[in-house]
């Protein structure tokens, strides 16, 4: 017996930057298109739409992912963080501030994806994840410092057509240092977030 024709739409609920948003989607809708076209959250950018440029990078359950290859219906139940969710009120995330202070962009189109990716890179590195340029990946080896080479490799999924890479690498390095300083000093982030 031929299988029943399946429904091609679903009513879904997405958890975006801590807020629940409900919408009905055609299953073909990517998370990127749901954010931009359905929810008016245009901070996430569409570059190649085929997973090759990183402009659409968001965090899913805290890990960076390209929203152009993520179906919206399959993102239900996951914690989605976009560039709009990175600042604590008026207080920019240290990585956002570093990109501003060091001109980590030219036209700015790839910047939201660069920043989302960089925030995740800093966490991945802090968690001890090796990269393709880490000489010794064995867990007994000392974790590699977040050198310019490590940053370039770890950020290689984010293309910048203006070629602002020199400043981007500097901004990621400063963002990492600031994030580490904040974490170790245990600054009152929660007060900022509550403000």
């Amino acid at each position: 017996m031929a299988p029943a024709t399946p429904s091609t739409h679903s009513a879904i609920s997405l958890n975006i930057n801590g807020e629940k948003r409900t919408l009905s989607v055609d299953h073909r809708t990517t998370l990127l298109d749901a954010l931009r076209e359905r929810l008016d959250m245009t901070g996430t950018k569409k570059g190649c739409d085929q997973g090759q440029c990183g402009a659409c990078t968001v965090l899913l359950d805290g890990r960076r992912a390209v929203s152009c290859l993520q179906l919206a219906v399959a993102a239900e139940g996951r914690e989605i963080t976009t560039i709009e969710g990175m600042a604590a009120g008026d207080q920019l995330h240290p990585v956002q501030q570093a990109f501003l202070d060091l001109d980590g962009y030219q036209c700015g189109y790839c910047t939201p994806g660069q920043i989302c990716s960089a925030i995740a890179v800093i966490e991945e590195h802090a968690a001890g994840w090796p990269s393709a340029v880490t000489d010794d990946v064995r867990p007994e080896a000392a974790p590699p410092p977040l050198s310019a080479d490590e940053i370039r490799e770890r950020m290689s999924g984010n293309l910048c057509r203006c070629g602002a890479y020199v400043s981007i690498v500097e901004a990621v390095a400063r963002g990492a240092a600031e994030t580490q300083a904040m974490t170790s000093a245990d600054l009152p982030q929660t007060e900022e977030a509550a403000a």
Binding site: P6, L69, W129, G157
Partner: protein, 330 residues
């Protein structure tokens, strides 16, 4: 993109029952290859069965020292796992050499093995392709093939398998476990991919509707001294033009155990067994390494624009085995 149904599944038996009932259904893992191919019309499933939440997301250390890797483990989690990095460092390196951080967070082990070739003719639905439309022809043979196969190809298809992970898994004798509506089965990874012949559209030995559930690595002490090296046309975030997974154990200057597999040279990860046979008991020096590479590469049938791969793979074998020999005796 063609419209499709979507169902999320939470147990393996439910997943395989859905595929058994609908031959036009596909499993959706990370979606990094399937969703992309659906956008271009290469894949046109009527239904997606989302397997990402199946309880197959752990890497277990077995009592014998091997590893049992769940099919929904992400590339990122596999490469970060301490036992992978300690016991099979070439596997961690291979995974880290593939794609980008974003894609590695999404992509899964099962999906990695079943990803499709990146041949430009396969990806372009306006062009003939025997893999996509059987009998339509292979424009790559007389066209753009500088990054196509030199080993095991045929007059019908010269596409390569794009996986890095699969090259290291092949070197370490991985076994693929799967489930079907009729029960479970398993197949060594080196037999999973079918010979190209005149049926390039038939890629694997898996029964219709089968779901890969695990990949098991038997214990391999030699793998503790292993490396993956990937050569590409840019420094990062690109598919290989040639790659190698190598492991070497040396005692008193003689090869005691060796594993070699090549990537980006064939329709499957290529286990270099002829080279391994030449090296068994041979002196661990550059001359023996080059002889081993030549033994493997005599079977190479390069096309007009990819002959460089024969030289590249020979050089990779010598370079990586020389480095591993130094590290083994350090």
């Amino acid at each position: 993109m063609k419209e499709f149904g979507y169902q999320r599944v939470f147990d393996v038996s439910g997943a395989v029952a859905l595929l058994d009932a609908d031959p036009d259904a596909r499993f959706l893992g990370g979606g990094t290859n399937l969703v992309d191919l659906m956008k271009t019309g290469v894949e046109r499933p009527a239904r997606l069965v989302d397997v990402r939440e199946l309880p197959l997301d752990t890497v277990e250390l077995m009592r014998d020292g091997g590893l049992r890797i769940g099919a929904t483990v992400t590339n990122s989690d596999l490469a970060a796992h301490p036992e992978v990095r300690r016991r099979y460092p070439a596997l961690a390196q291979a995974v880290l050499a593939g794609a980008s951080g974003q894609l590695r967070n999404m992509a899964t082990v099962g999906g990695n093995l079943l990803q499709r070739t990146r041949c430009g003719y396969f990806a372009d639905v306006t062009k003939p392709c025997n893999k996509r439309v059987p009998g339509s022809g292979c424009p790559a043979i007389k066209g753009e093939h500088h990054n196509h196969a030199i080993l095991g190809a045929s007059d019908h298809c010269v596409a390569t398998h794009p996986s890095d992970m699969g090259v290291a898994l092949t070197a370490f004798d991985a076994v693929v476990s799967y489930e079907t509506a009729d029960g479970p089965g398993e197949v060594p990874l080196s037999w999973l991919y079918l010979p190209v012949g005149d049926t390039p559209h038939r890629e694997t030995d898996l029964p219709q509707g089968a779901l890969i559930t695990h990949v098991t690595l038997p214990p391999a002490p030699v793998a503790a001294n292993s490396r993956y090296r990937k050569v590409r046309e840019r420094a990062s975030y690109a598919f290989a033009i040639g790659s190698i997974a190598a492991a070497l154990d040396v005692q008193d200057g003689v090869v005691r155990d060796v594993r070699l597999a090549f990537g980006a040279v064939a329709s499957r990860p290529w286990r270099a067994r002829a080279a391994e046979r030449v090296l068994a008991g041979a002196p661990a020096d550059a001359e023996a390494f080059a002889a081993a590479a030549d033994a493997e590469l005599t079977a190479a049938r390069p096309l007009p624009h990819n002959g460089y791969k024969v030289t590249l793979m020979r050089n990779l074998v010598v370079a990586e085995l020389t480095r591993l020999a130094e590290e083994a005796t350090r």
